[in-house]
């Protein structure tokens, strides 16, 4: 049993490995002019729908939703990253190591939600400028809420990766399905209340839904109590996904052990 200090050291080393891997796979320039431009263009594209709807309120709603959801785009990228561990053969090393493989997965890609906080906040700032949406001083708290949403989505993405653990070729499909479900049903473009009750129940247990309401409330000058309540709900949702993801991960790992194909890049 490793001590907390060792766990922390392991977390630090693993997260540094993730950053090093990111820096090997891309450059800051490529990230900035390739990926970030793509994210902001996506926000502008969806927000512009508000213009043709002829409603200032719709523009504001779409602008906030489609900027905040950028953190989700950054974070769900961990699904193929995690599944890639199996394809590259690193998975067996993770599993035989004395440290927790879940901690390894989560710390290795922790840079994704951190970058997501930047992309999302910067995106919101740019979109507000493009669509002339006034920003007040509460904007300084937005990154905190986005961080909470990012972590919640991170736990959800971990669960999806755990489900797809034995089907790594479906990594990209899982990624697309994960973020498009959030974009569609979690109040990004249409309020959750628009959907039938059965869909609303699912939206409530998905990440982003409550955190996004908190961001809208914050920028709309709502009382701190309302904002905190939605933050708490987002945190509960995230914790739930983490628990579910851990359970599924252990089960998927058990199945792979039983079949003896942990070294094999399954299809």
């Amino acid at each position: 049993m490793t001590t907390w200090t060792q766990q922390w050291e392991f977390f630090a080393v693993s997260s540094r490995t993730g950053v090093a891997e990111f820096r090997t796979n891309t450059t800051w320039r490529r990230w900035l002019f390739g990926w970030l431009v793509r994210l902001i263009a996506q926000s502008i594209f969806f927000t512009s729908l508000g213009l043709s709807l002829g409603s200032k309120a719709a523009v504001d709603y779409l602008a906030i939703g489609n900027s905040v959801v950028l953190v989700c785009m950054e974070v769900v990228a961990v699904i193929p990253f995690m599944l890639n561990e199996r394809r590259t053969g690193a998975i067996s090393l993770h599993l035989v190591a004395p440290t927790s493989s879940i901690l390894a997965y989560l710390s290795r890609n922790i840079y994704c939600p951190i970058m997501g906080i930047f992309s999302s906040t910067f995106g919101l700032f740019v979109i507000a400028e493009v669509f002339r949406i006034p920003i007040n001083e509460t904007f300084v708290f937005v990154p905190l809420l986005i961080a909470l949403i990012g972590l919640s989505v991170y736990a959800y993405a971990f669960t999806v990766a755990a489900i797809a653990f034995n089907l790594p070729s479906l990594g990209m499909a899982a990624l697309n399905f994960s973020y498009l479900s959030i974009m569609t049903f979690c109040g990004v473009d249409a309020p959750v209340g628009y959907w039938p009750k059965a869909v609303r129940v699912i939206s409530d247990i998905f990440p982003v839904t409550h955190g996004l309401v908190a961001v809208r409330d914050l920028l709309g000058g709502m009382p701190a109590g309302t904002i905190s309540w939605n933050c708490l709900l987002e945190a509960i949702v995230g914790t739930g996904w983490l628990g579910l993801g851990s359970a599924i991960f252990y089960f998927s790992r058990y199945l792979a052990y039983r079949r003896g194909n942990i070294e094999v890049s399954a299809l």
Partner: protein, 255 residues
């Protein structure tokens, strides 16, 4: 002709063996849900043909990008690009067969959108100008294949270009007025729609769903076909040049 057919057969087999390549067809219904729910939930806006059919044009663009990626990046990764280039069948004809197959599959996105509009929103898609619509669709398939050809050439020529292809989609959708008319764009940006086939395709396809007569359908159809021919010719020329250069330098599989 047999080389083109080989490309068609190869592509169909690839789709059958690796269903993950059909991923785009999973994303289109979501775009439909997003656009229509947003249009319906904000105020009393009447859903427009643009919001209904935008995912179809996005689908054509996405399949166009994906096939270029499959032809170059996947083949490079599997180490089969050298074999394809060395084979007696002409590479450009095989590519033509593959891109045409994928572009034709773009029609599936139209079916998806029709079903999603009906089932989830009770919207019956009615085509008031069927001839223009069908001609527009056929021209769009050609243009999508042309775009794929030019992208294949760019992927072959420029190392790492595919990393940026993901970036191109949304700016092109915005500039071509795929979801929102270009009249909402700042005026200096509007002429940039002209060389993008999606803009002209939108004009005929969106217009076909309205009762009113379509503005200059002939011009739009001619423009789509011209852009298709131009991108196909330029793409083929570039592919040949790049392949010749890579044969000489021995670096086909690298990149």
């Amino acid at each position: 002709m047999s080389d083109i057919l080989s490309g068609v057969v190869l592509q169909l087999r690839l789709f059958r063996r690796v269903p993950g390549n059909l991923l785009i067809f999973m994303t289109v219904p979501f775009f439909s849900l997003i656009f229509l729910s947003a249009a319906r939930s904000h105020g009393d806006h009447v859903v427009s043909p643009r919001e209904i059919l935008a995912p179809v044009l996005m689908g054509f663009w996405l399949v166009g990008c994906q096939i270029a990626e499959m032809v170059v990046s996947y083949e490079r990764a599997y180490g089969t690009l050298e074999i394809i280039v060395a084979a007696p069948a002409r590479f450009t004809w095989v590519v033509t067969g593959r891109v045409l197959t994928v572009a034709l599959l773009g029609i599936v996105t139209l079916l998806e959108v029709i079903v999603m509009s009906r089932v989830a929103f009770g919207i019956a898609v009615t085509v008031y100008h069927p001839t223009v619509f069908i001609l527009g669709l056929l021209a769009t398939i050609l243009a999508s294949a042309g775009t794929s050809t030019i992208m294949t050439a760019v992927f072959l020529a420029v190392r790492g270009a595919r990393r940026y292809v993901n970036t191109l989609g949304y700016p092109f959708y915005i500039l071509a007025g795929v979801l929102v008319p270009i009249t909402f764009l700042p005026s200096p940006l509007r002429p940039l729609a002209d060389p993008i086939y999606l803009y002209w395709s939108g004009n005929v396809l969106y217009g076909s769903l309205g009762r009113a007569s379509i503005r200059d359908p002939e011009l739009s159809l001619v423009m789509i076909v011209l852009l298709a021919c131009a991108s196909y010719a330029a793409g083929n020329l570039l592919i040949r040049k790049v392949i010749d250069r890579m044969r000489a330098s021995g670096e086909i599989g690298l990149g």
